[in-house]
Symmetry: C2
């Protein structure tokens, strides 16, 4: 048995989300099926205690994309990490899910619990015409947004706070208190890019923060309004939830760089 | 009657190409249907002499994308150009085709014949793992390519030449002699971007040039080999045709900036 950490890219449009669910295909499911096929095993079912399990660093919702989701999995024998990457990709070829990288890690490595930082990108297409090429990949906001005002206001949210205002009602985290290490807003052609980084996030936290930043960009809210919303510790004080389509899990960082045995 | 020039973005994956064909939906068809609906008319059929005709600056093949295709069309009455853009986009909402811009132009303006320069982008994803998010949007080349060698060799093709070596057999141009004004190769993260500009191109010219540049990037061809292939004036002397999925028509330039009456 050998444990590997993989970096995964996917188009979330095709899936009910990262995690296995009864109502449609998940990223986890197609990865576990690829792992089973790679090992010459029958396809696993959810919750049957089957060995071909892929543990993700974070659960992305339906429609949320990933450039650098992290996960760990066990292979029944020691293999070159490139062979694990290529082997999984061979069996993933019918899905918009790709293993960008595989690395041999310690047998007690855990993609979720060992993660030091998670990074997200949120893409807003800020133009009057709707998206053509980028449909399903961005949040289309046709009204002009003030990027500088959004960038200024974003700093209000950085730091150690009770983020109840930006927490989904179904969030399972024990505490609403989190440390937001960075929240940047920048302009890139017709797009406004919001980047967020923290050790961990509440459910819908990034999308809820972006929904409130849009209100700032429209001039409906000031930075002070955003600060007041944060302090209210009440979801109804926050802006609407931005859609899943604009969100990308870009990177998961770990303390100990794994040793690649390849 | 008022003539408008439109700038169109589309995902070519969904279409048999720009031009109307019997074997599936074309970009021209959905634009003409949108124009007819916008004017409250019945949907047009190909070749029935119907007024709702959209004339493109260039025919893109099946699977080829556009960021800035240009076209002209006549609206039955004088309208604000923003209303033309938004009205067409309303009726295009079920397609990955978007009018980015509409401008009022002279009644004798012609998108194809008046074009001064056409610009294309070709995206190569140069990494071992296949594309996930960018499937259908790039050409996946897993073997490492030498970008500097490709950029050096590209200059061989710039200028006034007989491009028969890079011309599709079904090309309908009267002459294989064209002036290539620019051919750039640059690295951008995991992608290699090839940009090409000319007054006009032969059928498959960009894709055939990119297919030969790949051979240079792999070290199979030198810049001299590319020059010899050009001089051979023989399609069989050229490299294979790069796939449609990586190609984007990015811009069409005109001599006279149209007057926007909006």
């Amino acid at each position: 048995m050998a444990r590997y950490r993989i970096t995964v890219e996917y188009d979330g449009s095709d899936f009910v989300g990262w995690q296995r669910q009864d109502n449609g295909p998940s990223v986890q499911q197609v990865l576990e099926e690829a792992l089973a096929a790679f090992q010459g095993q029958a396809a696993p079912e959810a919750g049957d205690g089957y060995a071909a399990t892929v543990h993700g660093a974070g659960r992305t919702d339906a429609g949320v994309h990933a450039i650098g989701q992290a996960a760990h999995l066990d292979v029944d024998r020691e293999l070159d990490s490139g062979a694990v990457r290529d082997g999984l990709n061979f069996y993933l070829k019918h899905h918009r899910v790709v293993v960008r990288d595989a690395r041999r890690v310690a047998d007690d490595f855990h993609a979720r619990f060992d993660a030091r930082e998670r990074r997200y990108l949120y893409r807003i297409l800020n133009r009057r015409p709707p998206p053509g090429l980028e449909r399903g990949r961005v949040w289309w906001v046709p009204t002009p947004l003030d990027v500088d005002a959004m960038a200024d206001a974003a700093s209000v949210l950085v730091g150690h706070h009770d983020f109840t205002t930006f927490r989904a009602s179904q969030c399972q985290a024990k505490s609403p208190v989190k440390t937001l290490d960075g929240l940047g807003v920048s302009s890139h052609g017709e797009e406004i890019l919001v980047t967020a980084r923290a050790k961990s996030f509440l459910h819908h936290q990034v999308r809820n923060m972006v929904g409130s930043l849009r209100l700032v960009g429209e001039g409906k809210w000031t930075a002070d309004d955003l600060a007041a919303a944060l302090q209210a510790r009440d979801r109804t004080a926050g802006g609407p939830t931005a859609p899943a389509s604009g969100l990308y899990l870009t990177e998961v960082l770990y303390d100990d760089p794994p040793v690649d045995v390849a």
